[in-house]
Amino acid sequence: MNTMKRALIISGGGSKGAFSVGVIKDFVQIYHLNFDILVGTSTGALITPLAAMGMIDKLEELYTTVNNDQIIKKYNLGQRDIDGRDSIFSFEPLKNLISQIYDDTFFKDLTTSGKELYITTVCLQTQELVVFTTAKNPAASRYFKVEKLVNADQFQAQCWHRPASRCLCLL
């Protein structure tokens, strides 16, 4: 009996995630590969949940139609100083997009699918590598911390930095 699991690891790279989506599409549709473990960093972390659920068409749509305005909000350059903002852009549109896609229903389906998802993040306070996972019994490591994803809100928080989450998935 073959118990070996097949893993898919997707790197970061912002819009270059479109290339990953193309490769995944071929893996699934041409080579009929299924993956038991999916690991993602940065844009890869955004891809893995949809890839795990086999939502390739949705991934293709997102990575071929989403534009800058749906990811970042721009301001007047002078407003930064006035508002005391510490960055030129805000990522509110991306946050909203993530919240729309990765909702409670999606997360429930993901956790009951049996797929093991690993999302790599960096703790903003300690600079520590933290891996969030849906795996039931994740292996511990001395190189990184492992935390379980327990709900959609927490899942969204890993993709989008919130003060409460403390961890940021760098795009």
């Binding site: 909000k73 007047n76 407003q79 006035i82």
Partner: protein, 172 residues
């Protein structure tokens, strides 16, 4: 006058259409308060009235009524002309006609059309307009021309305005 009104309506709808579906950091929701310093001259052109220096200071609160397109406000100030000080008050509107932006980093200025009417304590009854440039949401520069229908003179002014209000982040 009718042509001016038609032009304004045309520009308003053009600005409204171009603002739809795009992310524009200019003329965002909210309130601004400008402190303005005016300089210019009055002229009666072919009349016997000589051209006279004109200067003044004022406050100009504005509120955005159509996001990315239109702000309504009021002028209130003191003006010096013909060796006399007088007060000037009246409504104004600003119609954004162009956002000046960097390709990736956001905007830095906008050009807008101004229309205003003013009544003065020395019997002035004026209406006119001009162009303004708002830079970094801090400094406003512009030129205006107003016709005083009571004294039959023209007021030509340039102004510099500084935003006195604290900018608030628009709703996300």
């Amino acid at each position: 006058m009718k042509n001016l009104l038609l032009l304004f309506i045309f520009l308003f709808y053009s600005a409204l259409i171009s603002a739809q579906g795009s992310q524009d950091p200019e003329f965002t929701k909210g309130f601004i308060l400008l402190g303005k310093l005016n300089n210019g001259f009055t002229s009666g052109f072919k009349s016997y009235t000589p051209d006279l220096y004109l200067g003044g200071i004022g406050l100009n609160p504005q509120i955005t009524v159509v996001e990315n397109v239109l702000r309504l406000g009021a002028n209130a100030g003191m003006t010096y002309n013909n060796k006399k000080l007088s007060g000037l008050f009246g409504p104004m509107l600003a119609l954004k006609i162009k956002t000046l932006d960097t390709k990736y980093m956001g905007s830095y200025a906008n050009i807008h059309l101004l229309a205003e009417a003013n009544w003065g304590t020395a019997k002035q009854q004026m209406a006119g307009g001009g162009f303004g440039v708002e830079i970094f949401k801090k400094v406003h520069l512009g030129i205006t021309a107003q016709r005083d229908y009571y004294f039959n003179t023209w007021w030509f002014q340039s102004f510099i305005g500084v935003s006195l209000s604290k900018s608030k982040e628009s709703d996300d």
